[in-house]
C-alpha cells in the first residue's frame, strides 16, 4: 500500500495530501486534516452524518475513496460559511431550533445545501426526500424541514 500525493480542492482552497488512495474521504478529513465537522455515524452510507459535497453533489464521505477525489472539489461544513458569513441554512438551523445534539447537523445542512443549489424553492416533499438519507434521532425532523424552508425563502428574498 503505497502512499501517494493527492491534490484536490477543499473548501475552495487547493490542498495536497499524502496518503493511501484507498483511504476513506471521511477519515482523511477527520484524522489528517482535522476537519471534524464531518461526522461518522454508521460507516455504510445509511445515516448521512458524513455527507459532503463532491463537485457540488451530496455524497457519503464514508463511501468515497480519497483516490477518487483527486483533482476534484470537496466542500465540508467548515467551508460553508464563505468569508466568515454564515450560510442562510446555518442561520436558519439555529433560529428555527433545528439543532439538538447537533451530531447530524453538519451532514443535514450539507444535504440541504445540495438541494438548494439544485432547486431554489423546493417543496416540502422534495426537502424530505433530499434529507431522507440523513438520520436525526433528536428533533423529529420538523424543525429541520422548517429551517430549510426558511433558508430557501431568505435566499429568494435576499
Amino acid at each position: 500500500m503505497e502512499r501517494e500525493r493527492i491534490c484536490f480542492t477543499l473548501n475552495n482552497s487547493p490542498v495536497e495530501i499524502h496518503c493511501h488512495p484507498g483511504e476513506r474521504l471521511v477519515d482523511v478529513l477527520r484524522e489528517q486534516l482535522d476537519l471534524t465537522g464531518t461526522k461518522e455515524g454508521c460507516g455504510q452510507g445509511e445515516c448521512g452524518a458524513c455527507t459532503v459535497l463532491l463537485d457540488g453533489r451530496a455524497v457519503n464521505s464514508c463511501l468515497v475513496l480519497i483516490g477518487q477525489v483527486a483533482e476534484r472539489s470537496v466542500l465540508t461544513i467548515e467551508g460553508l460559511a464563505a468569508g466568515g458569513k454564515l450560510d442562510p441554512l446555518q442561520t436558519a438551523f439555529v433560529t428555527e431550533g433545528a439543532v439538538q445534539c447537533g451530531y447530524c447537523t453538519p451532514g443535514m445542512i450539507i444535504s440541504a445545501k445540495a438541494l438548494l443549489m439544485e432547486k431554489q424553492n423546493p417543496t416540502e416533499a422534495e426537502i424530505k426526500e433530499a434529507i431522507a438519507g440523513n438520520l436525526c434521532r433528536c428533533t423529529g425532523y420538523i424543525k429541520i424541514i422548517k429551517a430549510v424552508q426558511t433558508a430557501a425563502s431568505a435566499r429568494l428574498e435576499g
Binding site: G102, Y103, I127, K128, G140, I144
Partner: protein, 752 residues
C-alpha cells in the same frame, strides 16, 4: 409572575458552533502521539473462557499494550446499582459482545489486526434466551445467584372482590420489542494521563460524576485522580447513563501513559449498547358499566439481558406506572426482572413506562369498545388528579396533569374532526384511523436515591455570568434553559450568561442527565445560586458606591445604582478588583414522598409530567403498511422554560415513539444480534415523519423551578399506543406485540 425570559423560544447558544462544524464532541478529539484502542468481544452468548493467549497480539508491530482481566487493578466489575458486569471477563462470557480484552496500537489498522491475533478458547454453555424459561429453576444459571435479578409484588385494595364487581374484565398479554437509543454519535472518546497524575477521560456520557466513581473503582485510583469530561454528547436517550467505554479508555491511558482514542463502530454499538427492556406484560383490568376502573392485575416479566445495570429499578418504574395515567383503586402487580444471554438492557428514554403504557392504553381502548363508551370519555373519567392514589397505592400530592392534558387532546382538531380526517383515504384499498393515548412519567430518581441539584453562578471579569452544572448537555437543550433561568433571577439578558456542564473538573455534581430531572433539580439549584449572587452584587455595589441596597437594580444590559448606570463590565471591575466575592453555589434537594411503597425499593416518585397524543394513520389493507399521517401532541411540562426546546423534545419524542410502534427492534437470534446497522435497524427518516403539532398545557408544579417539571421522557411514551390504537380504529387489527411491523399488521388483516 412577570417573567422576562422564562417561556420564550430563545435559540440555544450551543447551536452556533454546531452549525459551523466547530463544535467538538468527545469522539472528535485527538492528540499528538495518540493511540487507537479496540475491544475484543465474545462471539458467543454463553461460554466459559478456558484460555486466553495475547502473546501474538502483543508482538504485533504497532501494538503498545494488550490488557485482560489480569490487568484490571481495582474491582473488575461495574454497574450503577450492583456491579455484576465484568470490565474484562475472566472466567465466563454472558452475551455476544461481552468484553474479553482491550488493546491500544499506533494506528487503527494495527489495532484491528492485533485484535484478530488474540486467541481465546471457549467452552460453550447452553444459552438462555427466553426470560420465562430463564426464570425456571432448571435453567442454566447465568449468574451464580440465579437468573432472577428482581422479583417484586405490590397489592393494595381488594382486587378479587373488585373484579367480581366489574361489569367487564379485559385480559390480554402484550409483548414489547428491544429498541436501542441509536444516538448518532456512537460510544467513544479519548483518555489521557496528565503530568499532574490525573487521568482525564473525555467521553460523551450522561453522569460524569458517577462515571468517575466507576472508573476509579475499577482502576483502583482515588476519585480525585480521575476527571470525566462529558459534554458535548451526540445523543444519549439513556444509553450513555451507564458506563460504555470510559473504563477501557482509562485502562489503556493508564497503562500506556499516552492519549488513547476509542470509538465504537455502529455495529459494535448495536451489539453492545444498552437496549430498552423487552417485557411480557399480562394485564387484567376490570371496570364498571360506566367505565370507572375498578381492578387491575398486572404481571411483568422483563428481560434485562446478561447484566443488571438499572434492570431492577426499571422494573419498579414499570410497576409504578402500570395503570398509566389512570386511577384504579384495587391493584395487584407482580414483576420479575430476569437475566438472559440476550445482549444487555438498561436505561432508555421512558424507563419501563413505555412498555406498560402501551399495554394499559390498549386495555383502555378495549374497555371502551366493550362498554360502548367514547375513547376520550373513559380516559377523562379515570384520569389521575392531585390527591388520588397511584397504581401502587401511594398518595399523589403534586400537580397532576392527565385530566387537563386529555381535555386539551380532545380539543385538538385532529381528535374533534377525526371523522373528517378519516373520511377520504388516499387509495381505495387504504383505511384511516385515529388513536388517542396518554401517559405520565415520574421525574427524578424516586424515594431512595439521593436526588439533588447543585450549581454555581459567578460574575466573571468580562462582565458575563458563568453557570456551572454537572448534568451534561446531551442534546436536549438544558443549557439554554439553565441560561434562561439564571438570567431571569439575575435580571440580565440571556446572552449575558454562559453555561458549563458535564466536566467533573469544572462543574458541581448535580446528578445525572436522565429521568427527566435536569431542569427540575439543576434549575432549582441555579435559582438558589443566582439569588445569592444578586445579593452579593447588590451589596457590593451598595458598599462601593455608597447607595442603598434597594437602589441597586440589575438590568438587561446594565446595573442601576441610585443615579449611576454601570455596565456589567464596570460592575465586574468595581467588585472583583476589590476582592469582592461574586460567586455562589446553589443546592436543591428534591422533595420526597412521605413514605415508601412497601416491598418495592425506591418508590414512589413525587412529581409527574404528562403527555397525550392523537395520531392519524393510514393502513394499506393489501400490504399491511402503516403510514402515520398526522400527530397532535399535548404536553404538560409544568411551566415551560423554552417553548422552542419543548417543541423540539415533543417532536423528537413523538418520532422516536413512532419508531417504537412500527419498525424498531434489535433482533437477536440465539444470542446473535442480527440488526447490526441502520440498514436493518430502521429508525424513522424525514420521509416517514408526519406533521406534528404540540399543544402546551401548563399544570404548574410548585416545587419546580418557575413551576417546571421534566419532559424529556414523557413526550415519547403515549405516541406508541396512540398509533397502535389508530391502527385498530382503521382496520380492527389489535396490536399486542411491538413493533407493529408490516407483516404483523397484514397477518392481523388476514386473520380478521
Amino acid at each position: 409572575m412577570n417573567l422576562r425570559w422564562i417561556g420564550k423560544p430563545i435559540p440555544r447558544q450551543d447551536a452556533w458552533t454546531k452549525v459551523t462544524g466547530e463544535a467538538r464532541y468527545m469522539s472528535d478529539l485527538s492528540m499528538p502521539n495518540m493511540l487507537w484502542g479496540r475491544v475484543l468481544r465474545s462471539p458467543h452468548p454463553h461460554a466459559l473462557i478456558k484460555s486466553l493467549d495475547i502473546s501474538e497480539a502483543v508482538a504485533c508491530p504497532g501494538v503498545v499494550t494488550v490488557l485482560t482481566h489480569h490487568d484490571v487493578p481495582g474491582l473488575n466489575a461495574y454497574g450503577i446499582v450492583v456491579q455484576d458486569q465484568p470490565v474484562l471477563c475472566s472466567d465466563k462470557v454472558r452475551f455476544v459482545g461481552d468484553a474479553v480484552a482491550v488493546l491500544a496500537a499506533e494506528s487503527k489498522e494495527a489495532a484491528a489486526h492485533a485484535l484478530e491475533l488474540i486467541k481465546v478458547e471457549y467452552e460453550l454453555l447452553p444459552g438462555v434466551f427466553d426470560p420465562e424459561v430463564a426464570m425456571q429453576q432448571s435453567s442454566p444459571a447465568i449468574h451464580a445467584k440465579g437468573n432472577v435479578l428482581r422479583h417484586s409484588k405490590v397489592h393494595h385494595g381488594d382486587v378479587e372482590a373488585a373484579f367480581a364487581d366489574s361489569a367487564v374484565v379485559v385480559e390480554r398479554e402484550y409483548r414489547t420489542s428491544r429498541p436501542i437509543s441509536a444516538f448518532l454519535e456512537t460510544e467513544g472518546g479519548m483518555a489521557m494521563f496528565g503530568a499532574d497524575g490525573v487521568l482525564t477521560v473525555y467521553c460523551g456520557a450522561q453522569y460524569p460524576d458517577r462515571d468517575v466513581i466507576q472508573v476509579a473503582r475499577a482502576l483502583g485510583l482515588e476519585r480525585d485522580k480521575v476527571r470525566m469530561v462529558s459534554s458535548l454528547v451526540g445523543g444519549g436517550f439513556g444509553g450513555k447513563d451507564e458506563i460504555t467505554v470510559q473504563i477501557y479508555l482509562a485502562l489503556l491511558a493508564l497503562n500506556t501513559k499516552r492519549p488513547v482514542k476509542l470509538v465504537l463502530s455502529r455495529e459494535e454499538s448495536m451489539v453492545t449498547g444498552w437496549k430498552k427492556h423487552p417485557m411480557i406484560v399480562r394485564m387484567k383490568t376490570g371496570a364498571s358499566i360506566d367505565g370507572t376502573l375498578l381492578a387491575h392485575e398486572v404481571s411483568i416479566i422483563s428481560d434485562t439481558g446478561a447484566y443488571a445495570s438499572l434492570g431492577g429499578t426499571i422494573l419498579h418504574s414499570a410497576m409504578e406506572h402500570c395503570s398509566g395515567p389512570y386511577r384504579v383503586p384495587n391493584v395487584k402487580v407482580e414483576g420479575h426482572c430476569v437475566y438472559t444471554n440476550n445482549s444487555i438492557s438498561g436505561a432508555m428514554r421512558g424507563f419501563g413506562v413505555n412498555q406498560v403504557t402501551f399495554a394499559m392504553e390498549t386495555q383502555m381502548d378495549i374497555l371502551a369498545e366493550e362498554l360502548g363508551l367514547d375513547r376520550l370519555d373513559i380516559r377523562l373519567k379515570n384520569g389521575l388528579k392531585d390527591g388520588d392514589k397511584g397504581a401502587l397505592g401511594s398518595l399523589l400530592v403534586t400537580a397532576m396533569g392527565p385530566v387537563q392534558t386529555l381535555q386539551a387532546a380532545g380539543q385538538t382538531e385532529l381528535w374533534s374532526q377525526r371523522e373528517t380526517y378519516k373520511a377520504e383515504p388516499s387509495r381505495p384499498w387504504k383505511k384511516r384511523g385515529v388513536g388517542l393515548a396518554a401517559a405520565i412519567k415520574g421525574c427524578g430518581l424516586g424515594f431512595r436515591m439521593p436526588d439533588f441539584g447543585a450549581a454555581s453562578v459567578e460574575l466573571l471579569p468580562s462582565g458575563f455570568f458563568r453557570v456551572r452544572v454537572g448534568c451534561p448537555e446531551i442534546g436536549q437543550g438544558n443549557t439554554i434553559a439553565f441560561a434562561q433561568m439564571a438570567a431571569e433571577v439575575l435580571g440580565c439578558s440571556v446572552d449575558q450568561v454562559e453555561v458549563v456542564t458535564g466536566d467533573t473538573g469544572e462543574t458541581p455534581d448535580s446528578g445525572t442527565s436522565t429521568a427527566s430531572r435536569s431542569i427540575y433539580v439543576a434549575g432549582n439549584a441555579i435559582i438558589d445560586a443566582a439569588t445569592k449572587v444578586v445579593e452579593l452584587v447588590e451589596q457590593g455595589i451598595s458598599a462601593r458606591l455608597v447607595v442603598d441596597v434597594e437602589e441597586v437594580e440589575l438590568g438587561e444590559a446594565e446595573v442601576r445604582a441610585g443615579d449611576a448606570i454601570l455596565s456589567y463590565l464596570d460592575v465586574a471591575a468595581l467588585l472583583l478588583q476589590n476582592g469582592q466575592t461574586c460567586y455562589a453555589s446553589g443546592r436543591f434537594d428534591a422533595p420526597k414522598a412521605t413514605e415508601e411503597v412497601p416491598s418495592v425499593y425506591g418508590l414512589p416518585h413525587l412529581v409527574f409530567g404528562t403527555n397525550a397524543h392523537v395520531a392519524l394513520v393510514e393502513v394499506d389493507t393489501m400490504t399491511g403498511q402503516v403510514e402515520v399521517l398526522r400527530i397532535s401532541a399535548v404536553s404538560d411540562a409544568g411551566r415551560v422554560i423554552n417553548l422552542q426546546g419543548l417543541e423540539g423534545q415533543s417532536e423528537g419524542g413523538a418520532v422516536m415513539g413512532m419508531g417504537y410502534a412500527l419498525t424498531e427492534d434489535i433482533i437477536i437470534d440465539q444470542g446473535m444480534v442480527r440488526t447490526l446497522n441502520f440498514n436493518n435497524y430502521i429508525i424513522p427518516t424525514a420521509m416517514d415523519t408526519p406533521p406534528i403539532s404540540t399543544t402546551v398545557v401548563e399544570v404548574v408544579e410548585k416545587t419546580g423551578p418557575f413551576g417546571a417539571k421534566g419532559v424529556g421522557e414523557v413526550v415519547c411514551i403515549s405516541i406508541t399506543p396512540a398509533i397502535t390504537n389508530a391502527i385498530y380504529d382503521a382496520v380492527k387489527v389489535r396490536v399486542t406485540e411491538l413493533p407493529a411491523t408490516i407483516e404483523r399488521v397484514l397477518a392481523g388483516l388476514q386473520d380478521g
